[in-house]
């Protein structure tokens, strides 16, 4: 029952946006619904912690530990993103129709995101992932500039081509399953029959799914659309895209890892390790050379997805725990960074790093948030990303991959100095007046509130993990590990 309510709330809000003359209330209502989703998800997580799982329809819809963790992260980012959107739209948008379009799209996007962890049937998960693309394309192009349209087009083409490869991957996987005499297509059942599946067919499914969904996660070299889309979209949408959408798609891949690991000679772990390392490495150097601060955070997302992938590829229980930590830390920290970036954009009207100097004098809240966000996302202690990256390195040293882990640490170091260096240049230094044609505005109260609320877990989680969250993380890593 509660699971149905979680997906019903955003749909209701989308319907509300379809009504005429609702433009003044629709974003507060959206926020209210998102907050409702957060409360309901917290309750559902309580059930999951008590019983191990909660089921709406057996073999189709339900939550287990890992799914509940992701659902909770989605709900939290959604809450802050809708709150920020409320302020953002109030300050920048006058057209009633466009406000309602934005709200309707945002809610539908929220619905598709929330649906990904809720479905336990991989085919339905594919549909949910496809819907996240379709519902977010018009959010990416919302500014309707040439650049935004270009970003939306690239985003759509690359991820949809990937989705088509992935759907064939799921069909092939089902084919393997049905040839082994089982037609209950769920993650858990797949893991159960995995040793009996024809290895060559599982290998084909693996490559189709990893390449196909990898395009959406941002695996190098399929990442080219990601900095475009994640920088051109309105900041709250960037927070959702970068903070949680990529992780949600990666979740579907790693959920299938028990199946791929069972196939002899496929070496699924090694593939993920290599893919993750390449993504982290390439992203680290892209971070150093970029000139646009929203692209900076987008490249950092490519890096973080690489780190999660790398940790999953290490394959030990400790690494699995580090991977889910990284997923949680990334979602909370990256969304916060984009709100801070949105604050800087509002104060200066430019996305170019070199044109922003002395932000601390012009917009103290945005500057402070950027300062904390950059340190947190780069992995400085005592923030959550530091904890997870440290855990990844420790798990790596404990396994047989010492040389690879040293390389990994080098990439993390490069990314750290790139990120922190760029952002410190923006915050300090002699203040620079914005260009006369720049569109600046004072950040409205809801957006400020979103920044403050999003900051809380970023600061707290590195120092203290609440017991229920720790239990969820442990349950998630159990689902992920061997």
């Amino acid at each position: 029952m509660i699971l149905w309510a979680i997906v019903a709330l955003p749909l209701l809000a989308a319907l509300f946006a379809a009504l005429p003359r609702t433009e003044r209330y629709v974003l507060p209502v959206t926020f209210g619904c998102a907050f409702g989703v957060l409360v309901l998800t917290t309750v559902a997580c309580g059930f999951v912690l008590r019983d191990g799982h909660t089921v709406a329809i057996a073999q189709w819809v339900g939550l287990d530990g890992f799914a509940a963790l992701l659902e909770l992260l989605i709900a939290f980012v959604l809450t802050t993103a809708t709150l920020y959107s409320w302020g953002y739209i109030a300050a920048t948008e006058r057209s009633a129709l466009r406000i309602r379009l934005y709200a309707a799209n945002l809610n539908l996007f929220a619905f598709s995101l929330l649906a990904i962890p809720l479905v336990v049937e991989p085919g339905l998960a594919w549909i949910a992932v496809e819907l996240t693309t379709l519902f977010s394309v018009l959010l990416v192009s919302f500014d309707n500039t040439r650049e935004a349209l270009e970003a939306a087009w690239k985003y759509m083409t690359i991820t949809l081509v990937g989705a088509t490869a992935a759907v064939l991957g799921f069909l092939v996987l089902f084919w393997a399953m049905r040839s082994a005499g089982d037609v209950t297509f769920t993650y858990s059942e797949l893991a159960l029959v995995a040793p009996r599946l024809a290895p060559s067919i599982v290998a084909v499914a693996f490559f189709l799914i990893v390449v196909g969904f990898g395009a959406k996660v941002g695996f190098v070299p399929l990442h080219t659309w990601l900095p475009d889309a994640h920088s051109q979209a309105p900041s709250p949408v960037c927070a959702l895209l970068s903070g949680i959408e990529t992780s949600a798609v990666l979740y579907v891949i790693v959920r299938l890892m028990p199946v791929f690991r069972a196939a002899p000679l496929l070496h699924a772990d090694l593939w993920l390790l290599v893919i993750g390392l390449i993504a982290a490495g390439v992203a680290a150097f892209l971070i150093v050379q970029t000139r646009d601060y929203k692209r900076l955070f987008a490249f950092s997302t490519v890096e973080h997805m690489g780190i999660i992938c790398f940790a999953v590829g290490l394959g030990t229980a400790a690494a699995a725990y580090a991977a889910v930590w990284q997923m949680a830390a990334h979602a909370l920290t990256k969304s916060f960074c984009f709100y801070a970036g949105g604050g800087a954009l509002a104060a200066t009207g430019t996305r170019t790093i070199a044109e922003v100097r002395g932000l601390v004098g012009r917009a103290p809240l945005a500057a402070g948030a950027l300062f904390v966000g950059a340190l947190a996302v780069a992995g400085a202690p005592p923030f959550a990303v530091f904890v997870s990256e440290f855990a990844v390195a420790r798990a790596g040293f404990a396994s047989a991959h010492v040389a690879v882990v040293l390389l990994f640490l080098f990439f993390v170091g490069v990314a750290f100095f790139g990120l922190v260096g760029h952002v410190m240049h923006m915050i300090f230094g002699p203040p620079k007046a914005p260009r006369s044609d720049a569109h600046t505005y004072r950040l409205p109260v809801p957006a400020r509130a979103a920044i403050v609320i999003a900051a809380i877990p970023v600061v707290v989680l590195g120092l203290w993990t609440p017991a229920p969250l720790a239990a969820l993380l442990a349950a998630s890593s159990a689902a992920l590990g061997r």
């Binding site: 085919g123 549909i127 379709l134 309707n144 088509t164 297509f185 060559s200 050379q289």
Partner: protein
């Protein structure tokens, strides 16, 4: 082909004809210069997908495949062309794409090479003796997927790129109906909801491009890149 067939000889023959034509439409979509011609080739291809699933679904009778036939006809053959014609301005359809990076003869040769590669790949895939309704569907499906992918890469106009994605999806399902005729719901749901939505959104985006940029030549959209103008 490999493995024992479950189909009657009449079904085999009808399906083979459909599959041959399917591959032909994939080539046609890749090289047709006019946007309107590409759209027509896509409609023909979707019709052929519906035919294949009808032929395979008649005996032994499969409700899944017949349902797939129905939603393919309704969604891809009727709804998508109607949506695209309605949303996208007429000027786009008569446009001829003159500036493809690869000329048509070369394109055709590349597409054929991809199809042949897909054939050998699918033979290897079918070798373990995993049961399949029609091996031809798997070969042509993989071939269509690669040719469709090539189409997305080589076409510069917005709509032919989109139709390339939809052609890839047609091919994936062409292989899918032979591999997993009872696949739970996904194909039907995807075609019934995702695909029309996709056409709607691409249509809106294409119209925005036409209005805002003055062209739907998406190959010319190269402003966003590293080290570009700040």
């Amino acid at each position: 082909m490999i493995g024992e067939s479950l189909l009657t000889p009449a079904q085999e023959q009808a399906n083979s004809l459909v599959l041959g034509l399917f591959l032909l439409t994939a080539f046609g979509m890749t090289v047709a210069r006019q946007v309107q011609a590409t759209l027509l080739a896509f409609v023909a291809q979707s019709l052929l997908l519906a035919c294949s699933s009808l032929v395979l679904g008649l005996h032994p009778l499969s409700v899944h495949l017949l349902a797939l036939t129905a939603v393919t006809l309704a969604g891809k053959v009727l709804l998508i062309p109607w949506l695209l014609r309605r949303i996208v301005p007429d000027a786009v359809y008569s446009r001829r794409e003159l500036s493809q990076p690869v000329n048509i003869t070369t394109s055709l040769l590349i597409a054929m090479a991809l199809a042949i590669a897909a054939y050998f790949f699918s033979v290897a895939l079918l070798a373990p003796g995993t049961p399949v309704l029609s091996a031809g569907n798997v070969s042509i499906g993989f071939a269509g997927l690669l040719v469709g992918w090539y189409q997305v890469a080589v076409r510069n106009e917005a709509l032919p790129q989109l139709l390339g994605i939809l052609a890839m999806e047609n091919s994936a399902f062409l292989a899918g109906i032979a591999m997993a005729p009872d696949f739970p719901l996904i194909a039907e749901l995807a075609i019934a909801f995702d695909v029309p939505l996709l056409a709607l959104i691409v249509g809106l985006l294409t119209r925005a491009l036409q209005e805002r940029v003055g062209s739907t030549d998406v190959g010319a959209l190269i402003r966003l890149r590293e080290g570009g103008e700040p």
